[in-house]
Amino acid sequence: MSAYVIRRLWQMIPTLMGVILLVFFLFNWVGGDPAYLLAGLFSNQEQIDSIRAELGLDQPLTVQLWIFVKQVATFNFGNSWTTGESVASIFASRLPASLTLMAPLLIIETIVALVLAIGLAWVRGSSIDRGTMVVFTALMSVSILVFIILGQYILAYRLGWFPVQGWSEDYWKNISTYAPLPILLGLVVSIAPNTRLFRSFVLDEVDQDYVRTARAKGLSEPRVMFVHVLRNALIPVITFVISNLPGLLLGAFLLERFFGIPGVGREIILAVERSDFPVIKAVTVYVAIATMIFNLIGDVLYRLTDPRVQLR
């Protein structure tokens, strides 16, 4: 097991180098010269030269790449080009809002989708099952934007059940007042794809021999479904949830933007709008690292929960 983990960590190095190269290529080559961007419309050559010297852009590409690698290794991406705030402190201050929103959402959506999936798998092939699947397909074809626009308009603006937008310093006020509507809308959006996926995981199990054995020895159907089937169907569900955990770092771009939540997602969109490259570079590299690590954790958990899986 430990040999496997070490090898996987070792294999991450080329991938990480690839991510760094890709980000470097995008921002230093495709992105053009940021000095013109920073200097603004009315600038002279001296200003541009001084900005280039400050950012190290007058150095050869290999030196610039080395600077970037050092930035990644030391977690020091410098300061935002627009606000001057250090990139590290931007993330430290934006992450709590994203987590306040995303952590409850992830827990609730997983539980709800799993219960629905088992319910649908229980009545598989019936008109309820097929009807729900058709409704879910239709729901998934409606843009996320529509759910958020309508939800915000009807539930907050018209009915006044929730505040239209806002955020405070106090965690309890956020979770009790500002977060519920975004969480509810996130749930509505994710319920259809998650239930479909989890249902397929459950259906993979219901025809297995051990399920037939459980029924043959006279167990009740709830016990078969919720103890025997659920325990095995949970394995891919856990892997799925774990590999989605880095998404917590990104927050929910659209929800944060619509509801004025000062999270990481909104910060990234702002950074893209302002061409604030250091922020985007940092988040891309670190989320990629987080994704790799969580994928590994997912695989290891898979191994621990399912003895049939052999990791080599």
């Binding site: 890709l22 495709v30 992105g31 074809s141 843009s143 529509v146 988040v283 994704t291």
Partner: protein, 352 residues
């Protein structure tokens, strides 16, 4: 089994594609969703040729004119009695600043006068339209159709680019193996370790140009990974099959074996991937345009319509939202159901 009997009787066996077609035809959901998708594509073709919704930018109604079908009978009577004389449902034309920026307004007026020289209703603005009008009095139905053209074409083009990239890289990787495979796998791992939406935003940030082409490039260069993995697997599987070895034995070149012998056998994977990617690219275009990184404001797509619809909704004008949402769900649902049916029909291993 029926096909086997008939093939013995006629001496020729039924091809894989005609078998798939036979399976597809028996699937009612698939056929109807296929018809829906084809109708939408015909609509797009007509807008491309300019015979439909070409004048979507023309101010044809008062601002925020409601859809006709929401009016009650008493509204209609009010509307007709309220307008001057013999022209029901119209008000007299008044120049607005919108016409100043409309580059074809002058010519359009001339054309209109040439067609209908007598009437004053040439420039009259309707008080209601089938799907209402937007803030600037443009016909929402025409906008929706024109927006469908943009969204569907962007979706198809981006999906095409992503599928070709993924399929080509996957085929080469699976076929040659070795260093080529290692390099491609490395590239796949790199792209795969960055969450899709983040990569899309990063490329949007560096491209820093807005427009339909930018959306196609962004979505095309980020969406290839799934197709790559599937195609690599297929080529690995087929590489050592007997028919490929037989082709090798009669001296078929690498390219010939890859593209003439194996490709037809894995083309159903490409088709299904293309269709799946089109759905996800259309959805992504809508979000990119909404965030302001996609179709620019002087164009129209379902995404820009939803952006406008958000502001319309605040003043109680819901029809643009309904129109864009309905159009998008019809096409996307149709295409999703069609993909499911295609997958079932093209995979002979699925029990029917």
């Amino acid at each position: 089994m029926n096909s086997m009997h008939s093939s013995i009787a006629t001496g020729t066996s039924e091809g894989a594609w005609s078998q798939a077609w036979r399976r597809f035809k028996s699937d009612a959901v698939g056929v109807w969703s296929g018809i829906t998708v084809i109708l939408c594509l015909i609509l797009v073709l007509f807008t491309l040729l300019g015979s439909l919704a070409a004048n979507w930018e023309k101010e044809v109604a008062i601002g925020h004119a409601p859809p006709s079908w929401t009016l009650t009978d008493s509204d209609r009577i009010d509307a007709s009695s309220g307008s001057a004389g013999s022209l029901p449902n119209v008000v007299l034309y008044e120049p607005t600043p919108t016409d100043v920026v409309d580059p074809i307004a002058a010519q359009w007026e001339l054309v209109q006068k040439a067609v209908k020289p007598a009437g004053d209703q040439v420039n009259a603005l309707a008080t209601h339209l089938p799907m209402g009008s937007d803030k600037w009095g443009r016909d929402v139905l025409a906008k929706t159709i024109k927006g469908a053209e943009t969204s569907i074409l962007v979706g198809l083009a981006a999906a095409f680019m992503a599928t070709i990239l993924g399929a080509a890289l996957g085929a080469v990787s699976g076929w040659y193996g070795g260093v080529v495979d290692d390099l491609s796998n490395w590239l796949y791992n790199v792209f795969h370790s960055i969450p899709g939406i983040l990569l899309i935003l990063a490329i949007a940030a560096v491209l820093n140009t807005k427009g339909t082409m930018a959306v196609v490039i962004i979505l095309g260069t980020t969406g290839w990974t799934g197709t790559y993995r599937l195609m690599r697997g297929e080529y690995l599987k087929h590489r050592h099959r007997d028919y490929v070895r037989a082709a090798d034995a009669i001296g078929a070149s690498n390219n010939r074996r890859m593209f003439v012998h194996i490709l037809p056998n894995v083309s159903h994977v490409i088709l299904v991937q293309f269709s799946l990617l089109t759905v996800s690219c259309i959805k992504a275009e809508v979000i990119l345009s909404f965030l302001g990184f996609g179709v620019p404001v002087d164009g129209v797509s379902w995404g820009t319509m939803l952006t406008e619809a958000q502001n319309d909704l605040l003043v109680g004008k819901w029809w643009q939202l309904l129109s864009a949402t309905a159009a998008m769900s019809i096409f996307v649902t149709g295409l999703s159901l069609l993909t499911d049916s295609l997958r079932d029909a093209l995979d002979p291993k699925v029990i029917h």
